[in-house]
Symmetry: C2
Subunit: 249 residues, 2 copies
Amino acid sequence: MFTKRLLRDKCGARLEGSERRRLEAAIGNVETLSARTSIGRAGSQTCKSTLLVEGFISRYCDDRNGVRQLVAVHVPGDFVDLHAFPLKVLDHNIETMTTATVATVPHSELDAIMRELPGMARKLWFATLVDAAIHRAWIFRLGRLDAVGRVAHFLSEANVRLVSAGLSDGFRFAFGITQNDLAEICGLTNVHVNRVMRQLREEKLCVFRSSRVEIFDPARLAARGQFDPAYLYIDTASADPILQPSLCS
Amino acid sequence: MFTKRLLRDKCGARLEGSERRRLEAAIGNVETLSARTSIGRAGSQTCKSTLLVEGFISRYCDDRNGVRQLVAVHVPGDFVDLHAFPLKVLDHNIETMTTATVATVPHSELDAIMRELPGMARKLWFATLVDAAIHRAWIFRLGRLDAVGRVAHFLSEANVRLVSAGLSDGFRFAFGITQNDLAEICGLTNVHVNRVMRQLREEKLCVFRSSRVEIFDPARLAARGQFDPAYLYIDTASADPILQPSLCS
DNA sequence: CGAACGTTTGAGATGACTCAAGCGTTGTGG
DNA sequence: CCACAACGCTTGAGTCATCTCAAACGTTCG
């Protein structure tokens, strides 16, 4: 089943079996896209939303000179552009960061789901609000942390989200992005990200090599980035305890 | 009527008369708070949401040393913490920036409204997604603009939002915040904000004096901050054309 | 009138940037 | 299977934007 991570821990409550089945039935098509494929452009109208099954997807704004600032990174299980369901018009661009498998859900199906399953409206709304909470954490990261702190904060966030998705054991995970992507996430230059990575390596906090992140000390990394996972609204009660170590005490 | 600006231009469609009446009927109490009064704390549970009638309210995160990063500023008509309705737990703090009049809506009333008026769920959801779009613009501002650009971008945003609320004529508006607030919004120090304001004054873009902002050239200010109002999702068709000049061509 | 608060200015320190070059890895076509 | 191109990573040197610390000034309000 290609949607086994579907919205896991992202709705404030587990999806009921019937809800998950209905959502999966709503999927129009599933396809695998190569890295750096555009999925949506700022200003464009849209009548479908995208579930990320595998890989990573970014949302970003271009500045006047074409320099990017990422505003979100999505992990498998995320409803990448569910906000486009009410908004209809995108205010930013969406692109695969890696090879990615995506499932498409027509907005007409979402309308039907909201009519048929009264609890789903609240759960889908919740999922978009978690995205907003992550946006707030990114604002904090850019506004108040230095370069090392920003990268430490982002990698801590990625780790917790990937643990929740079942794609990290809490210490290492596959992450096929580049130092340049990290720069566009953290509001830095790729040159400086490189120096930051060296520092994180020398301080024995983490390494990022050949598309894999290894975190030697999640608690110290989180402390360096002032990371507190509360904003991710992961329901620790419903989550598999083995996959939910206390990373940030 | 203290809620005449209620959610104006924030729902993707105008509120119907019946919807506005129902929402006003849901208001529990209205009170005027002095500046710097806390309305909600990170980590706290909440069972009501706040409509801002008059004044300004901030949402912010504290860093380890108690330094603030604002993640949102609300203008009259905003549903300040509507996101707390689905989320229930706050991930940040909320505080008045100025003397402010607020109306409180219990979540039980919002539940009732969503049952009674089927169109409202979508409109309230929309309003929270506009907040998220503003968050994204703030991420862009912090990640990719220099100090002058950040302040120019924020003041351009404030101007357009206040025009929409009927509180700016497109060139000047009352804004009872301090340079230190501006610093906490733009991820700068108050000393540097002061130098930025001098530069904006010398370049004849805008002045901020005795709690009033005057923008001499909205288009040039917007250009300096790479500001494009599309992310505010203001429905220009339904807005009063006199209050919606083309500020950022 | 005095206290509290916000604004303004200066001088020196520093974190991140720019530009430039070299190195390592990966994938591909001859 | 090698060679080369493309891409990403690494390092250095010099510059610049913003920060820190410190002090003085202006304004508001009780």
